[in-house]
Amino acid sequence: MYKIILTLITRDLKIYSRSLSDFMSTIAFMVTIVMLFPLAIGPQPDKLSFLSNAVLWIALIMSIIPSLDKIYLNDFKNGWLEQLSYSPILLEIVLLIKCLTYWLTLMFPIITTLAILSFILGIKSYLIVWNLIVFIIGSLAICLVGSICSSLTLGARTGNIISSLLILPLTIPVLIFGISTCEALKSNLNPYPNLYLLISFSLILIILSPILTAASVRIALSK
């Protein structure tokens, strides 16, 4: 069991390590989104630091979403998912492992970039570590929601745009709780209630997301 899980993880990590340019473009996309805000609202530092949390959260969500197709789409096309569905391990566990591996791989570049971007947007340095923890938890929830939605569109004609459309409304709770935590930190209020809500939302999704993902992957495989 552990051996199979380890094999799954190393296989995914190998694939990701050989497609680093995809991750680079995700990061570049994120930086570009953040760059658009000073151009759109003007470069005044006080305006920017007022909006900094919102800008970072929107950049995080918008840059993760287009890349989420990568978790299952290639494996679905080349038949790897179908092979896995016949294996003795539950498909739910396999898919959860794939999703978590993707999230962990994505975390390193994204968190580094977010740290740099926070400096650029003028967030106070003692807040950045806190913010990064909130971003890590929030991005876990986004990846888990995204795994449901990208598996729903497996085999669709115009998968990419539709899966983005599906993911965005479902990320609203993450956005609300995440932003509230960051804003509470910024104005020296108690961040824990919203942080706990964000963590509980992510934990609920760890249970719920593999079940729904596996259901929709089975549907896609039966076509």
């Binding site: 569109t153 459309l165 479902l170 929709s216």
Partner: protein
Amino acid sequence: MINYLANPRRFLNFFKFWEPIFGIFSLLLIICGLYFSLIASPEDYQQGDTVRIMYVHVPSAWLASILYFSLAISSAVYLIWKHPLADVCGRSIAPMGLFFAVLTLITGSLWGKPMWGTWWVWDARLTSMLILTIFYISFIALSNAFDREIDGSKPASILSILGAINLPIIKFSVDWWNTLHQPSSILRLDGPTISNEMLLPLSIMMIGFFCFSTYIIVVNIKIKLMNKKYNSLRLKSN
């Protein structure tokens, strides 16, 4: 009842009789309700004539939520029993629900401009209604995104059940958060707080809209079933 209607042929036979009745009823009720709401009902002491927007706004908002609820139920029925009629039913409900959700947003903003001084505010009720609209759109998009139409049914069903989390948020948003949108005045534990002269046209419009949406949905289902039959006959004859 539902078991009886689950057979497409019996469904068509049943609604051969009931469909025009729903149509005529909806026409009569909406005309009658419009008379009562636009002419025969009193002005609001605060809002004046603009309160008459309510007679379209409230029924369409209710129907948008009720139709989403029935969409989620028919999706669940489709996922559990794999009944083809439930799929057709869901596909026919979604455009109607989208229509009412958009109607709610439009009439709401028309009402909001004179009353609140703004077309739109980002409070909980309005935002959750907008999300409902987006769920309708994504249901329609996802159910039509596949090369074979039937492939889209199950993913779209899962999506619509996922989106049903939004319904209680819409219903209770005015109680949970302090919103500009007024709290509900009809479905309350301590009875409606609306005066009877306004409740009457509102209920007439409500039932009229309900009959109207049922009529359109049944016609939609009929068209889709006939299309299916036509396609299978054409395949047979080839």
